[in-house]
Structures are given as C-alpha cells and as structure tokens.
C-alpha cells in the first residue's frame, strides 16, 4: 500500500503543484468568487446620473406626463434591480450591495415648432440630452401609423436610452388614459400581476414550497462540478499514462511495483487532484449561493448524495481514461478510442431535458441503472425532482453503480497490464476486448 501511496503522491504533486494547474483549478475559482463580490459594486459605478434637458415636440398633456414621469422615476439601474427576485433583494449581503443607486435630474422643454434637422444638431452638440417627437395622432388612436421618435447622441448609454424611451412611451399611454377619463396610476395598480406561490401537496398531506430556482440551478451546478472535476483529472490520467509510456519510464516503474500498484496509485493520486478541483469550484459555487442568499436551495442530503455519485463518476471516467492511456503510445492515437467513450458520457447530456422534465419517467428510471450514465442521470433526477427520489431507487443505483465501478477497475487493470508495455499501432475496441479476456 505504501508504494501505491508513493505513486499517488507523485501523481498528485506533479499534477496539482504546477503553475498551469494552480491557475486553472485555484486562481480561476477564486476569480469567480471575486466576481460575485466585485462585479455587482462595479455595476453601481456604471450607474452615472443623467442630468440635462430633453426637448419634446408633443401635445401639452404628453409633455406634462413626461415631466411627471421623469421626476418620479427611478434611475435605470434601480429599475433593473427591482426586477430581481425577492430572495435576492431581501438578503442582507445582496441588499447592501444593491441599494445605492444614483438620482437623475432631467428637465423637459416643450418645443412648439421646429424641424428635425435643427434638433438633431442641437442633440449632437449636447444642448439637449434628447429630442422626442410625439405625433398627436399617436395619442388619439392606438391604430395610428405614425411613430414616436427619440433622437439621441451616438454615444448615449444603452440604459439611458431605454430610460428615456420607456418614459416617453409611458407618457403617451398616460395621456391616452387621461383623455379617456382614467387615472393611469390606478389602472397600472390594477394591472399589476400578483406573485403566485406554488405549494406542492405531498403524499402524506404535508405542503412543500416549490423552489423553481433550485430545480433550475442545482442540476446544472452539480453536473458542471462533476464534469469539470472528474474529466480534468481523467484527462491528466490519460496524458500522464501516455507520457510514462512514451518516455519509457514505465519499465523502470514496473521493475519496482506491480501494474496494479501503479494503476491504483495513479487513480488515487488523480482522485486527490479531482478533490482539489471539486473543492475549489464547489467553494466558488457555495460563495455564489451565499451571496445571493440561495443556500437554502441545497440540502446536506443532496450534497452527501452528490459526493457519493461524484466518487462513482470519477472512478468510471478515471478507469476509462487510464485504460485508453495505457493502450496507446501517442496522445493523437487516443482520439480514436476517446470518441466512442465521450459519446457515452454525452448521452445523459442529450437526455437532460427529458430527464429533468420527467424525473420519474421511463427514460429517467431506465438510464438510472445503466453504467456509466448512473451518476449523471441520478444527479439530474435528484436535483430536478419535485419530490424526493425513492430511497430504494437511490440505493439500487448506488449499488449497481459501484458494482460497475469494480468491474470497470477490473477490466481497466487487465487492459493496463497488457497495454502499458505495448508500443506501435494503437488497438481498436475489439482488441481491447481481447486484452480484457487475455489479461
């Protein structure tokens, strides 16, 4: 065991203690965490106040409405922030980041008679922030073919453009309502949609609040973590095995340890690498959840089961990668064997919409017991399901999955033992099957 651990430590050290790895697996997640903390405050600095005069050619009631709206309206960023979910805006950390916005000071100048060309030059030289032309027919009738036109300088910010345009549109609607004898504020209040809370009735009669955010985010997050962590270290396994073959050091190693010790050491070492990646990216994900006060969408049992399926997925990917690595002499040769293997792992991705929409459907249930799809399918199912997956299903999939892992380790060991000393033309799938029988 000590020799296996010696190999494992070398594998871990030579992979995880390199500049490339430190950048990819540690700096990048830290950078991602930093984004959550830094980007939102940075957004505030983009919220520059809009001060100046807007020229308007329109009927008096439209001009009046526009003046009212611009005085009462909030800054563009404030309007966007208010559209965020309550769960975010009520969180103390997020709230602290989001509340400070700036106030704009805009005056409206009504223009009696002018031409579009003159106004364009005045807008261009900065005399006016914008020029708004509202044909009266547009207020009179919703069927008018004339258009509301807003002239702005070329470098006008998008959010400021939207702000001016939206208020101009609302001013026209308000004017229409008033001409029909309605109060716009009352009408808008009446039209405001209530927020629905979905409660799922459980079989035992209990009620559970439906969490759509969790069902949307969790499977993506878990699968991304599994994919990044397991495939990154799996890829390292592939390349280090090929490297040991191509630089001929393999025979020196096999004179000191058995192929099984070497194989075991490599897989354990890269499992450590995978754990570091998982830890770093997982921390980044948790930091994101904490920032947006979404920690309650993930439970400890989900995390525990994710870990169980992650280990299963890692071993499935690792054994396949190391088997391919031992069978070929060049990285380019590995592509022909990697193709079918990657297709296999893409099946759950292709079935994702079906599984997430129908986590208890026949496709989801069937693929839950087919290695190596098990970890991917079960993670999607557990995270998408509106009620917990039956315990017997989870236990059965774990049992089938880990029996499959043992079989894959056994097959990989047989391929490894033969392939590791082979040079020259890479084998095809049939030859690999033959090696498994011979090994």
């Amino acid at each position: 065991m000590r020799k296996t651990l010696t190999v494992a430590w070398r594998e871990f050290r030579d992979t995880a203690m390199t500049k490339a790895f430190l950048f990819g697996a540690i700096v990048m997640p830290i950078f991602t965490i930093g984004l959550f903390i830094i980007v939102i405050p940075l957004l505030q600095t983009e919220d520059e106040p809009l001060d100046g005069t807007v020229a308007v050619f329109a009927s008096d009631d439209v001009v009046t409405e526009l003046q009212l709206l611009l005085i009462e309206s909030k800054s563009p960023l404030q309007e966007q922030l208010e559209q965020l979910p309550e769960i975010v805006t009520q969180d103390p950390i997020a709230k602290a980041l989001l509340t400070q916005t700036t106030k704009s000071t805009i005056t409206v100048e009504s223009i009696d008679e002018t031409t579009a060309n003159e106004m364009k030059s005045l807008v261009l030289d900065g005399t006016y922030l914008a020029y708004i032309n509202v044909p009266d027919s547009l207020v009179q009738s919703v069927d008018s073919e004339q258009e509301l036109t807003v002239f702005i300088p070329n470098d006008f910010a998008n959010d400021h453009t939207n702000f001016i345009t939206r208020n101009a549109e609302n001013a026209v609607v308000n004017a229409r309502l008033k001409r029909q004898g309605h109060d716009p504020t009352t009408v808008r209040a009446l039209l405001k949609r209530p927020n629905a809370t979905t409660m799922r009735v459980q079989e035992d009669g209990e009620l559970a609040k439906d969490n759509e955010i969790a069902r949307a985010i969790l499977p993506i997050a878990f699968i991304m973590l599994l994919w990044i962590a397991a495939f990154t270290s799996g890829n390292y396994l592939l390349t280090t095995t090929i490297e040991e073959k191509s630089n001929k050091v393999i025979e020196v190693l096999l004179s000191a340890i058995s192929p099984m010790q070497l194989l075991g050491g490599k897989i354990i070492g890269q499992a450590g690498v995978s754990a570091v990646i998982l830890g770093m990216y997982g921390s980044a994900a948790i930091a994101g959840l904490v920032t947006f006060a979404l920690m309650d969408i993930v439970t400890f049992s989900q995390l525990g089961l994710f870990l169980v399926y992650f280990i299963m997925g890692y071993f499935m990917i690792a054994t396949m990668m190391v088997a391919v690595g031992s069978a070929v002499s060049e990285l380019s040769d590995a592509q022909s064997l990697m193709g079918p293997m990657m297709l296999l792992f893409l099946v759950p991705m292709m079935l994702w919409p079906v599984i997430s929409q129908h986590p208890y459907g026949s496709v989801a249930i069937t693929t839950s017991y087919i290695p190596p799809l098990i970890p991917f399918v079960m993670i999607i199912r557990m995270a998408s399901a509106t009620e917990p997956i039956m315990m017997w299903e989870i236990l059965l999939s774990i049992g089938v999955g880990y029996i499959a892992v043992l079989c894959m380790v056994w097959m990989c060991a047989r391929i490894f033992r033969i392939g590791i000393l082979m040079q020259g033309k890479p084998p095809n799938i049939l030859q690999l099957a033959k090696w498994i029988r011979q090994g």
Partner: protein, 316 residues
C-alpha cells in the same frame, strides 16, 4: 549453492514469433553472468520475464527463491529502453525510484549525493532530467537501478550509448558490486565487454540457448587450434611446417593466423617455427566470444548466416 535465478523450460511467443524457446537457466548467487546474443535474440524478453514485467507462456521462473514480483525490492533493474520523467529533477527522480524500492529515511538524501558523486555527476541533483545529455541520463538510470543495493542486479545493455570513459566507470562499479557479493546478470550484444567482466556467459540466438558455461570452459571447448605468428619477413610459407593445415593472410599488424590440423600439437608447431625462422612473436590464439558465437551460428545455420552475424556484431 543457492540460486539467484532459475528458469525451467521457459517459452514466450509474440504472435507467430517465438521470442524465447524452452530456455533453462540457473544463475547462482554472487555470480556475474553475461547474457549475450545479437539484437532480437530474446535477451530483453527473457529479462522482462525474469522481472515479471511480462509473463512466460510456459515454464517456471524463480528469482531469489520466489517470484520477481515478490522480491522486487531485492532486485535492481536497468531496462533496455531508458526512461526518466523529463520534467522531474534528478534528485527527486532517484528518490522516487528509491522510495518505490522501499528505501526511506533521512539518510537517503546523503546516499543519493554520494552516489551522484561516485558516477561523476555531483552537480545535477537539482537539474531537470531533460537538461541532461543522453549519457548522463543513462548514468542516472543506472544509479536508480542500484541505489537500494539489491542482492540481484539485472542490467539490460548497460553500456549502450556510453563513451569509453563512462563505459569504464560503469564497468568498475559493476565489478565493485560483484566483489561485494551481489549477483549480476547483464545483457549485451557487444561481446568484448562481456569478455572483460563476466565469470560466466549465456548466449542465446533466435530464442534458443546456444552456450551456457564458465567463460574459460567455453574458450577451451571452442579452441579453434590457431597459432598466430608475426614473422620478421612476411613472405614465409608456413605450410612447410608439420601440423599446419592452412595459412591466413597478413593483417595490418603483420600477424598471420596458422590453422592447425586437428591432431597437431600446438607446442610442437610453435617450437618448430621459432627454431626455424626469425619471428617477432608467436602465440596460441585465444578464441573471442565473437568467434565462439559465430562458430555456434555457423554450426546451426550455415556459414553465410554466420558471416552476416559477424558483420552485424562488428558494426555494433
């Protein structure tokens, strides 16, 4: 006497190619044995089977009283195909292999430094393996094979790629290890090297063992009955002397080989020639391993194949 290596009726094939055929081999502990043969003879395959790196199709292999797999820490092995971790530092590479061979402890660093000095590479410890020349890498690998002071040392073509100075250096270390009581089996296709070092030789060709004996015994068995003479005057007809069957041409050193009849007495012929004509020197020609090997091949496969092999060995 305790056997370090024992092979009984070992065969190995790769597809249709019979790499090793019914090989029996016994190497006693403390012996230094040359495992000889041309390229492709089956030497490396045999060594890999001894090391349990590949498995024999049939027969049994016993190493240090068990299998090589169980006795790996007691065996040092330098494979034919050299390999290092290119990006790893030399000191770390040797330490890693030593760790895999069961060596631990703080004294390991000093042992590595001492050995690096011994193989005349004192300043490479912190250099990456890829920064070393091919010859230096080979010495590092040789060191990795012997650092744990194994009972049995198996070296596959240890001198290939080394200059004469380093060949002598490694040869001296092999001799030292032998005198300490280590059993050494080394393969080579450069026969004169084996002649200098070995107590015993095993020759194989096309997977078959053709010679297996003490080197002096082999020489006696393959005495070609040739007398080499250096006459003062080159144009001498040596066929006039009784017992001389044939006379070779004069080589660049003025030497002439005289092929004697089977029943001729070497001492009588030498005495007769020395007392009759003026000569600078005369001696019984000792057969080289190359001669012996060629003789074996000629017996089994004909003179044409034997000459091709001689050419191959000369160019090696």
């Amino acid at each position: 006497m305790t056997l370090a290596i024992e092979l009984q009726d070992v065969s190995k094939s790769f597809g249709d190619t019979k790499a090793v055929q019914h090989l029996d081999l016994e190497i006693t502990q403390g012996l230094i044995c040359g495992f000889l043969g041309p390229n492709g003879a089956g030497k490396s395959t045999t060594i890999r089977m001894i090391m349990s790196i590949i498995h024999a199709d049939s027969g049994s292999i016993n190493v240090l009283g068990t299998t090589a797999l169980a006795a790996k820490d007691r065996i040092g092995y330098l494979p034919e195909e050299r390999g290092v971790y290119r990006k790893m530092k030399v000191g770390r590479f040797i330490k890693y292999i030593a760790n895999l061979k069961g060596m631990r402890g703080s004294s390991l660093h000093k042992t590595i430094d001492d050995w690096l000095e011994r193989i005349e590479l004192p300043d490479v410890r912190n250099k990456k393996c890829e920064e070393l020349s091919k010859g230096m890498q080979q010495k590092v690998q040789f060191l990795a094979a012997i650092i744990h002071e194994p009972e049995l040392i198996i070296l596959d073509e240890p001198f290939t790629g080394l200059d004469p100075v380093n060949t002598k250096l490694i040869g001296d270390i092999i001799n030292e290890l032998h005198h300490k009581g280590n059993t050494i089996l080394f393969s080579t296709h450069v026969l004169p090297q084996a002649e200098e070092i070995c107590d015993r030789i095993v020759m194989i060709d096309n997977g078959l063992k053709v010679i297996d004996d003490q080197i002096d015994t082999v020489r006696e068995q393959f005495n070609p009955n040739i007398v080499q003479v250096v006459p003062l005057h080159p144009n001498v007809d040596f066929l006039q002397f009784e017992g001389v069957m044939n006379q070779g041409t004069v080589n660049k050193d003025g030497e002439i080989n005289l092929y004697l009849k089977d029943d001729a007495c070497q001492a009588d012929v030498i005495g007769n020639i020395a007392s009759t004509i003026p000569i600078r020197g005369i001696q019984v020609l000792q057969p080289t391993l190359t001669d012996i090997f060629i003789h074996q091949i000629a017996e089994r496969e004909g003179s044409e194949t034997a000459e091709k092999t001689r050419e191959h060995l000369t160019n090696a």
